[in-house]
């Protein structure tokens, strides 16, 4: 869910930077944070291929992902 949070935060940051009522320090700190989150989000998207797995329940009720097709 952190990807979703990153993007929500990014929107907040872009909107805040668009307002003129921030101090320079605040603006720079926000920008720095935004660039970091942007990089995390881009890295997540750059992941070559998502996995397709099957959620399997074991006898003890534990849940685990297994590669589909196995």
């Amino acid at each position: 869910m952190s990807f979703e949070k990153d993007l929500a935060r990014l929107e907040q940051i872009a909107a805040a930077l668009d307002r003129a009522d921030l101090s320079l320090d605040e603006s720079l700190a926000l920008f720095e944070e935004g660039i970091k989150r942007l990089r995390d989000a881009s890295d997540a998207l750059a992941k070559a291929e998502g996995r397709v797995t099957t959620l399997v329940e074991q006898a003890n009720g534990a849940l685990e992902e297994r590669d589909a097709g196995n």
Binding site: L24, I35, L45, V52, L55
Partner: protein, 396 residues
């Protein structure tokens, strides 16, 4: 004809027990009538405590007793209403305990979609009463899910459609298949268990629950009240995707989002990767622009403040300088040397102390008079206290 030759039932001695008669009648009737559909009007419906249903099917001139065994009631969406025109499929038989003809119903359909509609509305009313259909309950679907859970048949067309749509739109998204039976008597329990697994697992961003199109009966698990409640209870936002566009199911009403088909559900769940990348780029640009504008503004502010500051500093120096000049003028004006310059003299004793009063002089005392251009040595010839000739005690 001897008694020995009498066939069973031909004489009092070979009389059938009643049970044998009804058993024979049962076998004969069941053998004579294959399973078949009959139509008629429902009368005297009773649901017995053991789960079996009893009613009579009749028309203007005839009637037949009907029974639905409890295990068969599970396949019938709802009990029929009194007077309802129905078609019943089953086996004609005999109920030995009463020696009565009885139709054992396996399937029941009302004219039109009567029973389905009735069951649908009843379930809908119960869910509505519990607030589960309240639009305010609907949660937003996350816009950028990374992990999509799919509750459906592991080998159905729905799963295939969903996987290919997601792979096309955004191959970086993970798909977690949670297999479930989607039709038949086991489907509701299986769907509920799968949704429970998704809930306990907790790592999905969104869950698609559905199946491809089918008959009303095929889709019926998605009208099951328990399935609806499991969807409502799922902590992960839900997208329903059942059959084709025309079929609205109870699951559709409860889910956070209704998609018309499994493919549409996948499209609703997963944004296209390129659009996402573009959107990130536009966010980056917006942030750049914002912070650059702020920096430019800060630079401008700084320049203005610097100009302001040097102006204030110059003014402040100027103010101090004029104050110094004014003080210097005043000090100059008060200087005794100035007084001497105007022609006054100061009397001093031998030690150089100024003699400012007549009382400081004694007759015969030597003293000096300091003037603007030199000193005169003198001695006192007389002392006369009294009013001075002018202020200052100086001698002219």
């Amino acid at each position: 004809m001897t008694r020995r030759d009498a066939a069973p039932g031909e004489s009092p001695e070979t009389a059938f027990p009643v049970a044998a008669l009804t058993q024979m009648a049962k076998e004969v009737i069941e053998g004579a009538f294959p399973p078949l559909w009959i139509r008629g009007e429902v009368a005297g419906f009773k649901s017995h405590g053991n789960g079996h249903w009893y009613f009579t099917l009749k028309d203007a001139t005839a009637s037949v007793s009907c029974v639905v065994w409890s295990r068969d009631t599970l396949r019938i969406p709802a009990p029929p209403d009194e007077g309802m025109q129905v078609m019943a499929q089953g086996q004609l038989s005999v109920y030995p305990a009463r020696g009565q003809m009885q139709f054992m119903v396996r399937a029941l359909e009302a004219e039109g979609e009567g029973l389905w509609r009735k069951a649908f509305e009843a379930t809908r009313a119960r869910l509505e009463k519990d607030g589960l259909l309240d639009p305010a309950r609907k949660r937003p679907i996350p816009r950028f899910p990374r992990r999509v859970a799919v509750v459906t048949s592991a080998d159905g067309a729905a799963l295939h459609d969903i996987l290919s749509v997601i792979a096309r739109r955004n191959p970086s998204v993970d798909v977690i298949v949670v297999p479930a039976a989607v039709q038949g008597e086991t489907a509701p329990a299986s769907l509920i268990a799968a949704l429970d697994r998704v809930a306990r697992w907790g790592a999905a961003d969104v869950v698609i629950v559905g199946r491809g199109g089918g008959s009303r009966e095929d889709l019926w698990a998605f009208n099951d009240e328990g399935v609806a409640r499991a969807i409502a209870a799922c902590p992960v936002p839900t997208i329903s995707a059942v059959g084709h566009e025309v079929d609205v199911t109870i699951a559709d009403l409860v889910a956070d989002l209704r998609a018309a088909t499994p493919s549409a559900a996948a499209e609703a769940a997963v944004p296209v990767l390129e659009e996402l990348v573009e959107w990130l780029a536009s966010l980056r640009q917006a942030m750049r622009t914002g912070v650059q504008r702020r920096v430019v503004q800060a630079r401008r502010d700084l320049k203005r403040w610097a100009g302001d500051l040097s102006l204030r500093a110059a003014r402040s120096v100027e103010r101090r300088r004029s104050r110094v000049q004014e003080l210097a003028g005043r000090i100059d004006a008060l200087s005794p040397l100035n007084t001497l310059a105007r022609g006054y003299a100061v009397a001093r004793d031998a030690q150089g102390h100024a003699l400012g009063s007549a009382a400081a002089f004694q007759v015969g005392q030597a003293f000096a008079l300091v003037l603007r251009d030199g000193q005169v040595d003198a001695s006192v010839t007389a002392v006369r206290p009294g009013a001075p000739p002018s202020a200052g005690g100086a001698v002219r």
